[in-house]
Amino acid sequence: MSSPLLTQVGALAQRSIMRTARQPASAIPPLIFPVALLLMNSGGLKASTELPGFPTDSFFAFALAVPFIQGALFSTMNAGTDLARDIQTGFFSRLSLTPVRGSALLAGQITGIVVLGIVQAVFYISVGLLLGVRFASGPAGIALLLVYAALVAVGFGALGSFLALRTGSGESIQGLFPVLFVFLFISSMNTPRDLIAVPWFHFLASINPVSYLIECVRSLIITGWDARALALGFSIAIVLAILALIAASWALSRRMERT
């Protein structure tokens, strides 16, 4: 007799959250590292706010959007590494012998990542407010930002789960980290797209979905309510979440067949 789906999801989500909370090496870097990079880049690139057309006079406010997406990349790695560890240690195999549904396993894992994503977002917002950033979209914009962070965490968490279920190796997931980082750096993270002068870089940044994920957050911080940026950001986040969930579900069913 299987327990209700929600109970299963709750138990697995709690396990996912507790596991992250108990490992400082997993919990702290997604909080500290993006903020450290933000502070260093803000100091180093402050002068670029003097460029004609730069949208704000605070580079810190401009770059505050980046940790949200960088933190989500860390979530991908965390989700993938944790699930891969479950596969490598045999926990996944033992779990598949119990009445727990496959969908509960995936949902529980991703719920844990979403909670971590929201904690990260609250941390970044707090750092921004403490250092004097005034969110142009106001409290409603901050609330929307939390919803967006949760949505992005679903997408990246499912992506990490998919990779883990396909490879079954934590080392392989770690090896993919630089690849994910390329998407971050070849984007509009440090310069507005219309100020990128090198044509090939401008092209790559324009076809890189990460640019639009960042610009959505940025619009809430420095512009206010920019319908186009919000529509693009949310659309990409929703499509990413749907595709990653489909891929992860497919990989899960394949993994279950083999187990």
């Binding site: 180093g44 002068a47 670029s48 090896g175 100020l195």
Partner: protein, 255 residues
């Protein structure tokens, strides 16, 4: 002869390991190239900021940073290898078999230099192919690469000292984070004069700031503070060599 036998043996083994293992070779080659592309391409408009006065353009400006960064991390990555050898027990057998244990450290150091030479060559070729302007003459360029080489040695001695004290790969963040911070608390994106506030105050006391300034000057053929930069870099190399050799003694004492 006893020393050279150990040095060449350790260096050859370390280098062979790196070259034949893609997961070790590729990150040290790809990361500098990736940073170069991201910074030189994505931030090229920064050269239009009022007060930005580097004559050779933003590609050359960033090339020097990435060259020094690749040098420092080439050393640090070799330190990872030292930690891995201790973790796996190989280093203990190596110490038993070596007639001169100082040669072990020098051997790893030589491997760090040779490993970085591969990265530096690739980086230079790509920078030149992408149109980097070089204003300095042969002597200036030799000076630039020598400065980077000293920083490579500093990075290696620093990380080897930690690796031999802690003897575990888990010390990896401790090896690379301070180096990462030191590099990024220097004028990476703009000259020192354009840095503001706390960043300017910190960068003024960072030795990497002077190495960067001189390196950029050498590439442009208009170097300043050459004595100070080389003096600081050599002093750091000396301090960290003592740090590494004392680390070796610590490893010996631990058995």
């Amino acid at each position: 002869m006893r020393l050279w036998g150990v040095v060449s043996g350790v260096a050859w083994r370390t280098l062979k390991n790196v070259i034949t293992t893609p997961s070790l070779l590729l990150p040290s080659l790809m990361f500098p190239l990736f940073f170069f592309v991201a910074f030189a391409g994505g931030l090229s408009q920064v050269q239009n900021v009022p007060g930005f006065d580097y004559p050779n353009g933003y590609t050359a400006f960033q090339f020097v940073f990435v060259l020094l960064q690749s040098a420092a991390f080439g050393g640090v990555f070799t330190g990872f290898g030292v930690a891995r050898d201790f973790e796996g027990g190989f280093a203990r057998r190596l110490m038993l078999a070596s007639p001169n244990r100082t040669g072990i450290v020098i051997g790893y150091g030589l491997a760090a230099i040779l490993r970085w030479c591969i990265t530096a060559t690739l980086l230079t070729v790509i920078a030149l192919a992408s149109g980097m302007k070089v204003g300095g003459g042969p002597v200036d360029l030799i000076g630039l690469y020598t400065l980077a080489l000293i920083i490579n040695i500093c990075g290696f001695f620093w990380s080897a000292g930690i690796a031999m004290r802690l003897r575990t790969l888990q010390a990896g963040p401790l090896m690379q984070m301070p180096v990462f911070l030191l590099l990024f608390l220097a004028p990476v994106y703009v000259p020192l004069a354009l840095l503001g506030g706390a960043m300017h105050a910190v960068a003024k006391f960072n030795p990497i700031t002077y190495a960067l300034g001189t390196g950029r000057g050498l590439l442009a053929g208009d170097a300043t503070q050459v004595g100070l930069s080389f003096g600081l870099a050599l002093a750091l190399a000396l301090v960290f060599s003592v740090w590494a050799l004392r680390g070796l003694r610590s490893a010996e004492a631990a058995g």
